[in-house]
Symmetry: C2
Subunit: 362 residues, 2 copies
């Protein structure tokens, strides 16, 4: 029987399982968003995020899902007559194209098959052939479990196309995979908190470069809700433009303290260890959906090479253990399945889940 008050434990690639201590943070007494208490909360949280993202530039908290920042990056930093190059390697990078078009912008697509990576030389070829204001990248494609080589890509762009802005969707990457914002020369990067931050959905985190902020000054009809200019003005007072999602910011503050104590290198290593373990299991029982060198450390997409019924396996694990993992996304349904190993999910929990799947597939 469906009962939202007794939901399964989540190993789908987001929202992921949230620990009790995090949930309790959401239940703290609320604050006046123009008062000193809120300013203290925001200032503490943003300062920690700057260290976590290795940036001295702007960090914003957005009461939206990360998809809001897809739109914000375009609306703020691409002029109405400028063109964006969108790199597409799965469902979420594809969606960004539609978002850019829905804002009336001109878009060129660089498309590879789902499960393939976007490589520096592909982008180089495209950028050399046309005039682009910006390029969009997805760090970790949640639909295919693929990590693009964003460090290599960014190095190439910085060297050869230093004037082109770089927007990066790091939804299922941020805090699970290395991210040095300033060093990478990125202009906008963002994530929702329901992935590797291991907080329920409802808030997005964005880092924005000073040059992206400068650029936005001259872009017309930016709108209000996602206007970087207004965001930056409010940020100076340790406030947000609009009334913020305070419970989630309290939970984020708590998670940032934990990440700072752990150290980012250790957090990334923890994700790598889980990724490696799942991949070793996959290679024994199934096949990886993407080439191993691009397989993600925050979630794994598994090719259903044994022809099992993925839906039935998920249902059976849910019935026995009140736990679910993910079917393939969209056209990859039943052809793949996905297991999240990020945030507060532990290696022991992953091992337990894989054991349950083993019992099902015999």
């Amino acid at each position: 029987m469906v009962d939202w008050k007794n939901p399964p434990r989540l190993f789908i690639p987001g929202p992921v399982k949230v620990n009790e201590d995090i949930l309790e943070q959401l239940a703290r007494p609320t604050l006046g968003h123009r008062g000193k208490e809120y300013a203290q909360l925001q200032s503490e949280t943003v300062e920690m995020l700057k260290e976590i993202l290795f940036t001295k530039q702007h960090v914003f908290l957005s009461t939206s899902s990360a998809s809001g920042i897809w739109e914000a990056s375009i609306r703020n930093c691409v002029g109405p007559n400028e063109k964006v190059l969108c790199t597409c390697c799965g469902a979420f990078s594809d969606k960004w194209v539609n978002v850019a078009k829905s804002c009336g912008r001109k878009v060129d697509e660089l498309k590879v098959d789902w499960g393939q990576a976007i490589l520096p030389e592909m982008i180089d070829k495209k950028l050399s052939s046309g005039k682009y204001a910006a390029v969009t990248l997805v760090y970790n494609e949640t639909s295919t479990g693929l990590t693009n080589p964003v460090y290599e890509i960014s190095k190439m762009i910085k060297e050869k196309y230093p004037d082109i802005l770089v927007f990066v969707d790091a939804v299922s990457a941020m805090v699970g995979l290395p991210l040095h914002f300033d060093e990478l020369g990125w202009d906008v990067v963002f994530a929702s908190v329901q992935k590797a931050f291991a907080i329920p959905p409802g808030l997005a985190v964005a880092a924005v470069s000073e040059r992206a902020l400068q650029k936005s000054k001259d872009v017309p009809n930016r709108g209000y809700y996602f206007d970087f200019q207004l965001w930056a003005k409010s940020n100076e007072k340790n406030q947000t433009l609009v009334t913020p999602n305070i419970p989630h910011i309290m939970a984020l503050n708590y998670q940032c303290h934990k990440l700072m104590a752990e150290g980012m290198e250790n957090a990334w290593a923890r994700h790598k260890e889980m990724g490696e373990f799942v991949r070793s299991w996959v290679k024994e029982k199934f096949e990886l959906f993407c080439e191993e060198k691009y397989a993600s450390n925050t979630l794994t997409a598994i090719k259903n090479s044994r022809g099992i019924s993925v839906a039935e396996t998920i249902n059976s694990v849910q019935e026995k253990h009140n736990t679910i993992f993910g079917n393939g996304y969209g056209k990859l349904k039943e052809k793949t399945f996905r297991i999240a190993h990020m945030g507060d999910i532990t290696l022991d929990e992953v091992k337990e889940l894989l054991g349950w799947i083993d019992e099902e597939i015999g």
Copy 2:
């Protein structure tokens, strides 16, 4: 000492005090937003909201503050070459003008002094003199504690200008003041949950008419995050376009159950009783900022006719009782002060607060 973990109890006009039982709802285990459990939660919640707002049309949950719906109403339902009439009687109705302009739309303003109401005949005069696609109204102006006569205004517009769309900011009105969406003939109405719903900030509720939805089909460059067309498609599956703020929707579900059990007439009467009590106190000790017939039942703006130091009085009450009320908004700072009496604030709590203020003013 400022300590966001031990904040004062809030009688500012939003966010307002939230009861412990509501806070606990935020801490429930989270859900997969494409799963059956979430669809059940959303469907239950939206059905209750339709009864609460007296509508058989569309009700949407938006992971944003209500300011997002300022923008959504304009971006979806006003063409790039159409004109909006914005009625302005305080800080928040004023801001909507800027939002409409930030979307590149043409705006005419109908402005009265802060503390004055917008009257049907003023709107009639404006609408008869020009060609407008839509008019914006603020039901309850939070900066001045004024309730506009929206029932009379809506009757006039329905009779004389049935083709003009009506957008209503009901941020500090919804569930505290009567609201019969279909009967009023409104096209968009919205509120944040941190006012009379008595939930922490992070979510907005919007009702949208079928004709507003039809209109939006032909408006170009609506963007993605606030696109009513995409919202409606997701709503049919009891989902939202983007990953929603699930903890707040759980709390909203809980509050809707409570409101349904109470009955909306009773909820409105409860707010009226608190409003009347505060006004009787004000008339003894100070003066009302607006004419009594327009004074709000969800918050009261009080003219500082005794020349007290508002900031010092608030500080003193905070120090002694860890409770705050609101200074005047913007240019009304120190000239007025504001007390919220909405949501889960009780008459007894209001009486206690007024007693504390009495002690301060002697």
